[in-house]
Amino acid sequence: DTAVSQTPKYLVTQMGNDKSIKCEQNLGHDTMYWYKQDSKKFLKIMFSYNNKELIINETVPNRFSPKSPDKAHLNLHINSLELGDSAVYFCASSHNFAGGEDGYTFGSGTRLTVV
């Protein structure tokens, strides 16, 4: 059973399109996150939800909109995709922001390529 699963694994799309990435966790965690990893491997927090409530919204273009229908799911919708959005997007979950005993559990990533 995959603890944090995100789909799709790969996404190739044209500029201007709208796309969504889905994330689900079966760990019973209260907090979920989206991180963006650029071509230099740098990981930057984008959003965080705690029990379906948006807690963190970093300086991300408003073309990016997270949605959490319940605490086990955190989806990411991106409007009007741009070349600079190409990156690997990671979903993660944890008991709390500090990570607790187990840290954050990450999904396997979604490699988004905008052409």
């Binding site: 740098f42 930057k44 990570g99 840290g103 990450f106 999904g107 490699r111």
Partner: protein, 115 residues
Amino acid sequence: AQSVTQLDSHVSVSEGTPVLLRCNYSSSYSPSLFWYVQHPNKGLQLLLKYTSAATLVKGINGFEAEFKKSETSFHLTKPSAHMSDAAEYFCVVSDENSGNTPLVFGKGTRLSVIA
């Protein structure tokens, strides 16, 4: 605010020789510290964590790290490198008392292992 500095962007070792990946942190409170590993085209896996118990922490795959408060360091070591250790390694810090602040990642160190 907390931060981490990984002192080397790339480390190259021969198979069977020791590994040292350096990390310094900055934190206002008592930090929790983690090391994560990312193999090529994979997600992030927790290697080990320090959460104010023993200062020498043992992780998976023979890795360990020592928390040194006086030096604000949390270096990752392994006595003998294996080819399968080639990956990107991230040092991560969290403050238990910093409220809704997610884990902060270092910029990563790429470990190459030469046969």
